[in-house]
Protein backbone atom coordinates (compact mmCIF):
# COMPACT_ATOMS: atom_id res chain seq x y z
CA UNK A 1 0.00 0.00 0.00
CA UNK A 2 1.64 3.19 -1.16
CA UNK A 3 0.20 5.71 1.27
CA UNK A 4 1.08 3.95 4.49
CA UNK A 5 -0.38 6.31 7.05
CA UNK A 6 -3.67 6.75 5.32
CA UNK A 7 -3.95 3.03 4.47
CA UNK A 8 -3.28 2.11 8.11
CA UNK A 9 -6.02 4.50 9.19
CA UNK A 10 -8.31 2.86 6.69
CA UNK A 11 -7.61 -0.67 7.95
CA UNK A 12 -8.42 0.45 11.50
CA UNK A 13 -11.87 1.57 10.41
CA UNK A 14 -12.56 -0.94 7.62
CA UNK A 15 -14.84 -3.15 9.72
CA UNK A 16 -17.09 -0.26 10.75
CA UNK A 17 -16.94 1.02 7.17
CA UNK A 18 -18.34 -2.21 5.67
CA UNK A 19 -21.02 -2.23 8.38
CA UNK A 20 -22.01 1.33 7.46
CA UNK A 21 -21.31 2.32 11.05
CA UNK A 22 -19.24 5.46 10.48
CA UNK A 23 -20.19 9.12 10.40
CA UNK A 24 -21.05 10.57 7.00
CA UNK A 25 -18.02 12.82 7.19
CA UNK A 26 -15.61 9.93 7.77
CA UNK A 27 -17.32 7.85 5.08
CA UNK A 28 -16.78 10.60 2.53
CA UNK A 29 -13.10 10.75 3.49
CA UNK A 30 -12.72 6.97 3.21
CA UNK A 31 -14.62 6.85 -0.09
CA UNK A 32 -12.16 9.41 -1.42
CA UNK A 33 -9.24 7.31 -0.25
CA UNK A 34 -10.74 4.21 -1.86
CA UNK A 35 -11.14 5.99 -5.18
CA UNK A 36 -7.40 6.69 -5.15
CA UNK A 37 -5.96 3.51 -3.59
CA UNK A 38 -6.29 0.24 -5.52
CA UNK A 39 -4.93 -1.86 -2.68
CA UNK A 40 -7.39 -0.63 -0.08
CA UNK A 41 -10.21 -1.07 -2.59
CA UNK A 42 -9.18 -4.71 -3.03
CA UNK A 43 -9.00 -5.18 0.73
CA UNK A 44 -12.46 -3.77 1.30
CA UNK A 45 -14.00 -5.75 -1.57
CA UNK A 46 -12.44 -9.04 -0.47
CA UNK A 47 -13.40 -8.34 3.14
CA UNK A 48 -17.04 -7.85 2.11
CA UNK A 49 -16.87 -11.01 0.03
CA UNK A 50 -15.37 -12.96 2.93
CA UNK A 51 -18.28 -12.02 5.19
CA UNK A 52 -20.76 -12.66 2.37
CA UNK A 53 -19.61 -16.21 1.62
CA UNK A 54 -19.64 -17.19 5.31
CA UNK A 55 -23.19 -15.85 5.60
CA UNK A 56 -24.23 -17.60 2.42
CA UNK A 57 -22.73 -20.89 3.61
CA UNK A 58 -24.78 -20.76 6.81
CA UNK A 59 -28.06 -19.76 5.17
CA UNK A 60 -30.68 -22.47 5.51
CA UNK A 61 -28.21 -24.67 7.40
CA UNK A 62 -30.27 -26.61 9.90
CA UNK A 63 -29.60 -29.17 12.59
CA UNK A 64 -30.15 -32.67 11.14
CA UNK A 65 -33.58 -34.18 11.88
CA UNK A 66 -32.13 -37.08 13.89
CA UNK A 67 -30.25 -34.57 16.04
CA UNK A 68 -33.52 -32.73 16.68
CA UNK A 69 -35.34 -35.99 17.43
CA UNK A 70 -32.77 -36.84 20.09
CA UNK A 71 -32.93 -33.28 21.50
CA UNK A 72 -36.72 -33.36 21.96
CA UNK A 73 -36.50 -36.84 23.44
CA UNK A 74 -33.80 -35.76 25.90
CA UNK A 75 -35.86 -32.73 26.93
CA UNK A 76 -38.89 -34.97 27.30
CA UNK A 77 -41.10 -32.72 25.16
CA UNK A 78 -41.21 -34.79 21.98
CA UNK A 79 -44.97 -35.35 22.34
CA UNK A 80 -45.63 -31.59 21.95
CA UNK A 81 -43.74 -31.30 18.68
CA UNK A 82 -45.95 -30.37 15.73
Amino acid sequence: MEKHLHCKDFVDTISSYVDGDLSEELCVELDKHLSECDNCRIVVNTLRKTIDIYQHQAENEKAPEDVKDRLFYRLNIEQFRK
Partner: protein, 199 residues
Protein backbone atom coordinates in the same frame (compact mmCIF):
# COMPACT_ATOMS: atom_id res chain seq x y z
CA UNK B 1 -30.19 -16.13 12.03
CA UNK B 2 -33.32 -16.65 14.04
CA UNK B 3 -36.43 -17.37 12.00
CA UNK B 4 -38.11 -13.97 12.15
CA UNK B 5 -41.36 -15.33 10.73
CA UNK B 6 -42.10 -17.38 13.82
CA UNK B 7 -44.75 -16.02 16.16
CA UNK B 8 -43.02 -14.34 19.14
CA UNK B 9 -42.69 -16.54 22.19
CA UNK B 10 -44.77 -15.84 25.27
CA UNK B 11 -41.99 -15.47 27.83
CA UNK B 12 -44.32 -15.90 30.81
CA UNK B 13 -45.62 -19.17 29.43
CA UNK B 14 -42.07 -20.31 28.69
CA UNK B 15 -40.97 -19.45 32.22
CA UNK B 16 -43.94 -21.18 33.78
CA UNK B 17 -42.91 -24.37 31.96
CA UNK B 18 -45.80 -24.51 29.48
CA UNK B 19 -44.71 -27.56 27.43
CA UNK B 20 -46.11 -26.31 24.13
CA UNK B 21 -44.39 -22.94 24.47
CA UNK B 22 -41.15 -24.63 25.55
CA UNK B 23 -41.40 -26.82 22.47
CA UNK B 24 -41.84 -23.73 20.28
CA UNK B 25 -38.78 -22.19 21.91
CA UNK B 26 -36.68 -25.26 21.19
CA UNK B 27 -37.99 -25.46 17.62
CA UNK B 28 -37.22 -21.79 17.05
CA UNK B 29 -33.70 -21.83 18.43
CA UNK B 30 -32.35 -25.34 17.81
CA UNK B 31 -31.00 -24.55 14.33
CA UNK B 32 -29.04 -21.40 15.28
CA UNK B 33 -27.72 -22.96 18.49
CA UNK B 34 -26.56 -26.05 16.58
CA UNK B 35 -24.89 -23.87 13.93
CA UNK B 36 -23.02 -21.87 16.58
CA UNK B 37 -21.83 -25.03 18.33
CA UNK B 38 -20.78 -26.64 15.05
CA UNK B 39 -18.80 -23.57 14.01
CA UNK B 40 -17.18 -23.28 17.43
CA UNK B 41 -16.22 -26.96 17.58
CA UNK B 42 -16.14 -28.28 13.98
CA UNK B 43 -17.41 -31.62 15.29
CA UNK B 44 -20.98 -32.84 14.82
CA UNK B 45 -21.14 -35.10 17.89
CA UNK B 46 -19.79 -32.36 20.17
CA UNK B 47 -22.14 -29.82 18.58
CA UNK B 48 -25.08 -32.12 19.36
CA UNK B 49 -23.93 -32.41 22.98
CA UNK B 50 -23.71 -28.63 23.24
CA UNK B 51 -27.17 -28.27 21.69
CA UNK B 52 -28.65 -30.59 24.29
CA UNK B 53 -26.74 -29.10 27.23
CA UNK B 54 -27.70 -25.56 26.18
CA UNK B 55 -31.42 -26.33 26.33
CA UNK B 56 -31.14 -28.45 29.48
CA UNK B 57 -29.37 -25.59 31.26
CA UNK B 58 -31.82 -23.07 29.85
CA UNK B 59 -34.86 -25.05 30.98
CA UNK B 60 -33.36 -25.43 34.46
CA UNK B 61 -32.73 -21.72 34.89
CA UNK B 62 -35.52 -20.16 32.83
CA UNK B 63 -37.39 -19.05 35.92
CA UNK B 64 -34.37 -16.92 36.86
CA UNK B 65 -34.13 -15.33 33.40
CA UNK B 66 -34.62 -11.63 34.08
CA UNK B 67 -35.08 -10.47 30.53
CA UNK B 68 -32.22 -7.96 30.62
CA UNK B 69 -31.22 -9.35 27.22
CA UNK B 70 -33.25 -11.17 24.57
CA UNK B 71 -33.99 -14.83 25.15
CA UNK B 72 -31.99 -15.60 22.00
CA UNK B 73 -28.97 -13.66 23.27
CA UNK B 74 -29.15 -15.57 26.55
CA UNK B 75 -29.30 -18.92 24.72
CA UNK B 76 -26.36 -17.94 22.52
CA UNK B 77 -24.37 -17.10 25.65
CA UNK B 78 -25.06 -20.53 27.15
CA UNK B 79 -24.14 -22.23 23.87
CA UNK B 80 -20.84 -20.38 23.50
CA UNK B 81 -19.92 -21.10 27.12
CA UNK B 82 -20.80 -24.77 26.69
CA UNK B 83 -18.68 -24.90 23.53
CA UNK B 84 -15.73 -23.35 25.36
CA UNK B 85 -16.11 -25.98 28.10
CA UNK B 86 -15.95 -28.75 25.48
CA UNK B 87 -12.78 -27.22 24.04
CA UNK B 88 -11.26 -27.13 27.54
CA UNK B 89 -12.13 -30.80 28.06
CA UNK B 90 -10.35 -31.86 24.89
CA UNK B 91 -6.84 -33.21 25.14
CA UNK B 92 -4.71 -31.02 27.40
CA UNK B 93 -2.51 -29.89 24.53
CA UNK B 94 -5.54 -28.37 22.79
CA UNK B 95 -5.99 -25.52 25.21
CA UNK B 96 -8.16 -22.47 24.72
CA UNK B 97 -6.40 -20.10 22.37
CA UNK B 98 -6.97 -16.42 22.94
CA UNK B 99 -5.82 -13.55 20.84
CA UNK B 100 -3.64 -11.85 23.41
CA UNK B 101 -3.48 -8.57 21.56
CA UNK B 102 -5.15 -5.95 23.71
CA UNK B 103 -8.80 -5.30 23.00
CA UNK B 104 -8.35 -1.58 22.91
CA UNK B 105 -5.97 -1.38 19.98
CA UNK B 106 -5.70 -2.75 16.49
CA UNK B 107 -2.03 -3.67 16.56
CA UNK B 108 -1.04 -6.84 14.77
CA UNK B 109 -3.62 -6.68 12.00
CA UNK B 110 -1.93 -8.10 8.97
CA UNK B 111 -2.70 -7.08 5.41
CA UNK B 112 -0.32 -9.03 3.23
CA UNK B 113 -2.67 -10.57 0.66
CA UNK B 114 -3.67 -8.08 -2.00
CA UNK B 115 -5.42 -10.20 -4.60
CA UNK B 116 -8.80 -9.27 -6.03
CA UNK B 117 -10.54 -12.64 -6.09
CA UNK B 118 -14.08 -11.27 -5.98
CA UNK B 119 -14.40 -11.77 -9.75
CA UNK B 120 -14.12 -15.56 -9.51
CA UNK B 121 -17.20 -17.45 -10.76
CA UNK B 122 -19.87 -17.90 -8.07
CA UNK B 123 -19.49 -21.68 -8.38
CA UNK B 124 -16.02 -21.28 -6.82
CA UNK B 125 -17.57 -19.95 -3.62
CA UNK B 126 -20.13 -22.74 -3.41
CA UNK B 127 -17.90 -25.78 -3.91
CA UNK B 128 -17.29 -28.45 -1.27
CA UNK B 129 -13.59 -27.59 -1.35
CA UNK B 130 -14.41 -23.97 -0.51
CA UNK B 131 -16.70 -25.12 2.31
CA UNK B 132 -13.80 -27.06 3.76
CA UNK B 133 -11.45 -24.07 3.42
CA UNK B 134 -13.99 -21.82 5.17
CA UNK B 135 -14.30 -24.31 8.04
CA UNK B 136 -10.54 -24.67 8.38
CA UNK B 137 -10.04 -20.90 8.35
CA UNK B 138 -12.59 -20.27 11.08
CA UNK B 139 -11.08 -23.05 13.22
CA UNK B 140 -7.71 -21.30 13.01
CA UNK B 141 -9.16 -18.23 14.72
CA UNK B 142 -8.54 -17.93 18.46
CA UNK B 143 -11.79 -18.81 20.30
CA UNK B 144 -12.37 -15.28 21.53
CA UNK B 145 -12.34 -13.97 17.95
CA UNK B 146 -14.23 -16.98 16.56
CA UNK B 147 -17.19 -16.52 18.88
CA UNK B 148 -17.53 -12.83 17.96
CA UNK B 149 -17.39 -13.57 14.22
CA UNK B 150 -19.92 -16.41 14.50
CA UNK B 151 -22.47 -14.40 16.43
CA UNK B 152 -22.09 -11.11 14.56
CA UNK B 153 -21.39 -12.14 10.98
CA UNK B 154 -22.85 -15.63 10.67
CA UNK B 155 -25.83 -15.40 13.01
CA UNK B 156 -26.41 -11.72 12.29
CA UNK B 157 -26.57 -10.38 15.84
CA UNK B 158 -26.04 -6.66 16.27
CA UNK B 159 -22.89 -5.35 17.94
CA UNK B 160 -24.92 -4.70 21.11
CA UNK B 161 -26.47 -8.19 21.11
CA UNK B 162 -23.06 -9.78 20.51
CA UNK B 163 -21.64 -7.77 23.40
CA UNK B 164 -24.50 -8.92 25.66
CA UNK B 165 -24.16 -12.56 24.61
CA UNK B 166 -20.42 -12.62 25.24
CA UNK B 167 -20.42 -10.20 28.17
CA UNK B 168 -18.04 -7.85 26.42
CA UNK B 169 -18.07 -4.12 25.83
CA UNK B 170 -19.19 -2.93 22.40
CA UNK B 171 -15.68 -1.58 21.81
CA UNK B 172 -14.20 -5.01 22.50
CA UNK B 173 -16.66 -6.65 20.14
CA UNK B 174 -15.75 -4.21 17.37
CA UNK B 175 -12.02 -4.71 17.91
CA UNK B 176 -12.30 -8.51 17.94
CA UNK B 177 -14.60 -8.46 14.94
CA UNK B 178 -12.09 -6.43 12.94
CA UNK B 179 -9.30 -8.87 13.83
CA UNK B 180 -11.42 -11.92 13.05
CA UNK B 181 -12.61 -10.57 9.71
CA UNK B 182 -9.12 -9.52 8.64
CA UNK B 183 -7.60 -12.87 9.60
CA UNK B 184 -10.26 -14.73 7.63
CA UNK B 185 -9.82 -12.40 4.67
CA UNK B 186 -6.11 -13.16 4.65
CA UNK B 187 -6.72 -16.92 4.81
CA UNK B 188 -9.30 -16.88 2.04
CA UNK B 189 -7.15 -14.59 -0.09
CA UNK B 190 -4.35 -17.17 -0.05
CA UNK B 191 -6.73 -19.90 -1.22
CA UNK B 192 -8.71 -17.89 -3.76
CA UNK B 193 -5.53 -16.21 -4.99
CA UNK B 194 -4.30 -19.67 -6.02
CA UNK B 195 -7.67 -20.42 -7.61
CA UNK B 196 -7.33 -17.19 -9.65
CA UNK B 197 -4.27 -18.60 -11.36
CA UNK B 198 -6.45 -21.30 -12.94
CA UNK B 199 -8.55 -18.75 -14.83
Amino acid sequence: MINEESEPLNLKKVQSGDPEELTRMVQQYSDPIYRVALRMLNNQAEAEDVLQETFIKALRSLENFEGRSNLSTWLYRIAVNESLMVIRKRKPEVSIIHDDTGDEDNEGISVSQIVDWCCLPESEFLSNETRSVLNDAIQKLPENLRSVFILRDIEGLSIIETAQALELTETNVKTRLLRARMKLREELSVYFGERMSEY
